[in-house]
Symmetry: C2
Subunit: 152 residues, 2 copies
Amino acid sequence: MVEPLRLDDQLCFALYKAQKQFNHFYAKALAPYQLTYPQYISLLSLYEHGTMSVKALGQTLDLDSGTLTPLLKRLEKDDWIVRSRSTEDERRVDVSLTDKALGLRDEIFAHVGSCMELLDMAPEVYAMIRGNVAEVDSQLSKIDDEQLTAMK
Amino acid sequence: MVEPLRLDDQLCFALYKAQKQFNHFYAKALAPYQLTYPQYISLLSLYEHGTMSVKALGQTLDLDSGTLTPLLKRLEKDDWIVRSRSTEDERRVDVSLTDKALGLRDEIFAHVGSCMELLDMAPEVYAMIRGNVAEVDSQLSKIDDEQLTAMK
DNA sequence: TGCAAATTAATCGTGTACAATTTAGATATT
DNA sequence: AATATCTAAATTGTACACGATTAATTTGCA
């Protein structure tokens, strides 16, 4: 007597689909700048924190060097960022914004901001849902890997 | 005077991170069965709807053949599904579950169900958040691609 | 000082995603 | 029937994601 798992009842699936919709939304919104969503949030983090090591950037985005290294190389090729080996600690690679990136900052913020208005959602509702989703993230992160693997 | 976009204020980023946490959760929960999350939801849809064409399966998951074809080939190699060219319409490929998949159905549902309890979230809260996220998905899907590209 | 342990990026392999193209088969129209 | 149109799946190319490994440095400590 096992409860069947229906796809549309599940939070994971709702998140999975919504995240893909956002990806599509940003693909269109960012098309003028030839940026993907992961590239865009990398720039957002750099706008917010300034020059950072790959490690530090990865911590703000929950991404490791296996994802970031090729992504940052593409951003560098398109002149959004510069990667440079730190002189004080040769293990580190510092990522900094180019003049192009700094110059386009306000324009990108304004453009994305106005695209966002098409979502037509009240700020309080938006913030509430964001908080709920962040809470789910937080709860999931508390689950120990061992708890899950020991389950079997 | 442009409003700066802070990463942690944004719904898209909360969704992005929560979805990745769920991926990690399912990677561990599904490890005994050697299934990835996209493979798992493909099986869920087949458990729910029975044999389906690649097209129909893709419609339930919002995925196209570019993603599904290689994924289904892997599921077939591991004896979860069988792909067979339809006789009535030779363009179609029908996907059906194997005896292994049908035999493990209840066990998988029970196992994932008990892993899910570790999330420790009240059913009403879970359902409320799922509904909110689905609503965001729905709102995003209403935005015309032209509206966005015309924005520039 | 000298060397083991820890840290940081980069690399490699596997598995999605998705736009765009191709191929084959079905359907509609003349 | 012949051709154009449409449809389904596969293929190709680009870009993440992430676990695991490797290489180069730095740090801790005997």
